[in-house]
Symmetry: D3
Subunit: 116 residues, 6 copies
C-alpha cells in the first residue's frame, strides 16, 4: 500500500482506539452513529459516501476527505464521477477548497496506483 | 404556491436580476458556471442536486438549502431519501445544523403540500 | 412570556415534531444523543450548557445561541457570567460574532424581564 | 433614509448600547479595538473597509456585510469597485456566498437611492 | 518533555516573537486582550480555559486545541472532564471534528505521560 | 529559494497539473475564473490580492494565505501594509486566526530573506 494511504489508516485506527479506550458514552455513541449513517437505506451506500465526501470538501477537512475518497473508491466511484463530486465541492465552497482538492487528488492517485 | 416557496423564489429572481444588471464579467461567469455544475454528466443531475443539498446543509445556508430542496423535489427525491441526505448533513455537521434542518423540513412540507 | 422567547420555543417545538414524525433512525438517535450530551456527569450540567453556548457563538448560529442562553439562564448563569462566556466567544471568534452577540443580549434581556 | 438602512442602524446602535451597558472589560476593549482596526494607517481607511467587506462576505455574515457596505459607500467605493470586491468574495467563498450577495446588493441599492 | 508538546510550544513562542517584533498596535493589543480573556473573573480561569477548548474544537483549529488542552491540563482538568468537553464539541460540531479529536487525544496522552 | 517557499510552489504546481489532467470542464473553468478574478480592473491588481489574502486568513486556509502573501509580496505590499491586512483578519476572524498568522509571518519572513 502507498505511504500516504497506509499512514493515514494506521494513525486513524490507532487514535480511534485511544479515543474509545476512555469510557465516554456520548463519544462512543457518536462514533457508532457515524458508522450507521453511511449504511445502505433509501439511498445506496455509494450515494451516501459521495454525500459524505462533498460535505467534507466544503468543510475543508483533509482527513475526512481522505476517508470518504477511500470509501467511495471501494464503492466503485470512477475518476470521472470523483471529479464531478469535486466540481460541486469547488463551486459551492469556492477557491478556498482548491488546496484540499490538491491533496484529495494526491490521495486518489495513490489509491488508484495500488495493485488490486 | 405556498407563501414561503413563492417569496423565496420571487426575491431570488429579483435580486439575481439586480446582480447581473451590473456588468461584472467574473460574477456573470460564476453564475453561469454554477448553473453548469448541476447538469447531467457522469453523475445524474439528481445525484448532483443531492450533493448540492448536503453541501449547503453543512455550510448552514438556509437559502442554498431551500434552493436545492426545491431542485431535489423536482428531480423526484422522496421524503425518505431527503431524510437520509439530512442525516448525513446532521452527523457530519453536528447539532449546529439542527435549526437549518427545521427550516428545511418546513420548506419541504410546503413543497409537498402544493397541488401537482 | 416575551414575544421573541415564546416564538422561538413554539417554532422549535413544532418543527422538532415534524422532524421526528419522519421515521429516520439516524436523525432520531442524533436528537437523542444531543439531549444526553448536556446531562450531569464529570462536569455539572451548568458547565456543559456554558460549553454549548460558547460553541454556538463561535459557530454563529442564532437559534443555537438562543437555546443555550435559555438553558444557561435556567441553570442559574448570572449576567456577569454570561458576559464572560460572550467575551471568550468574541475573542476566539472575532468581530464576525458581534451581530450574534447583539441578538443574544436581546434574548437574554427578554428572559430576564420575565416574571419568575 | 430607506427602511432597511434605517432599521439596520437603529437596531445596531440600540443593542451595542445594551452590550456596553454591562461592565465587561474584555468586551468593551474588543469593541474599541474593532473601531481602531479600520483607521487610516499604512493603508488608507477605504482599503481597510474593503478588506472588512470581503472578510465579512466569505464568512457570510449579513449584518457585517451591511455595515462594511455602508462604510465603503461613505468612503467613496464605486459600484464597479463594489462588484470587484464581490467577485473576489464569490470566487474565494463559492456559491454559498450568493444569497449574501443578493442581500448586499439590495442594501447597496438602498444606499444609492438615498438623497445625498 | 515529549516531542509534540515541545515542538508545539517552541514554534508558538518563536513565531509570536516574530509577530510582536513588527510594531502593529492593533495586533499587539489583540494579543494582549487574548491573554486577559482567560483570567479569573466571575468565572474561574479553569472554566474559561474549558470554554476556549470547546470553541477551538468546533472551529477545528489544531493549534488552538493543543494550546487549550495544555492550559486545561495545567488547571487540573481530569481525563473524564476532558472527554465531556470533547463530547460537547463532537455533538455540536459533528463528525468533521473527529480528526481534530484524534490529534487532541494524542496531545493529551503526551501531556499525561510527562513526569510531574 | 527558501525551503518552505520552494516546496509550497512545487507541490502546488504539480498537483494543479494533476487536477487539470482530468478532463472536467467545470473544474477547468473554475481554475480559469479564479485567475481572472485578480486581474487589474476598477481596482488595481495589488488591491485584489490584498482582498484575496484577508479572505484566506479569515477562512483559515494556510495554502491560500501563502499563495496570496506571495502574490502581494510580488505586487509590492510592504511589511507595514501586510500587518494591517493581518490586523483586519485577526479582528474580524478572532484568535482562531492566530496560528495561521504565525505561519503567514514565517512564510513572509522566508520571502523577504530571498535575494532579489
Amino acid at each position: 500500500m502507498s505511504h500516504i494511504v497506509h499512514d493515514f489508516n494506521e494513525y486513524r485506527e490507532k487514535m480511534n482506539g485511544r479515543i474509545l479506550a476512555t469510557d465516554n458514552l456520548v463519544v462512543k455513541r457518536f462514533f457508532n452513529l457515524d458508522t450507521n449513517t453511511y449504511q445502505e437505506g433509501a439511498l445506496p451506500a455509494k450515494s451516501k459516501e459521495m454525500l459524505g465526501l462533498v460535505a467534507s470538501m466544503v468543510l475543508r477537512c483533509d482527513d475526512c476527505i481522505r476517508y470518504h475518497v477511500q470509501e467511495c473508491h471501494q464503492a466503485g466511484v470512477t475518476r470521472a464521477e470523483f471529479f464531478e463530486i469535486f466540481s460541486v465541492g469547488l463551486v459551492v465552497g469556492g477557491s478556498i477548497v482548491v488546496p484540499h482538492l490538491r491533496r484529495a487528488v494526491e490521495f486518489l492517485d495513490a489509491l488508484e496506483a495500488e495493485p488490486k
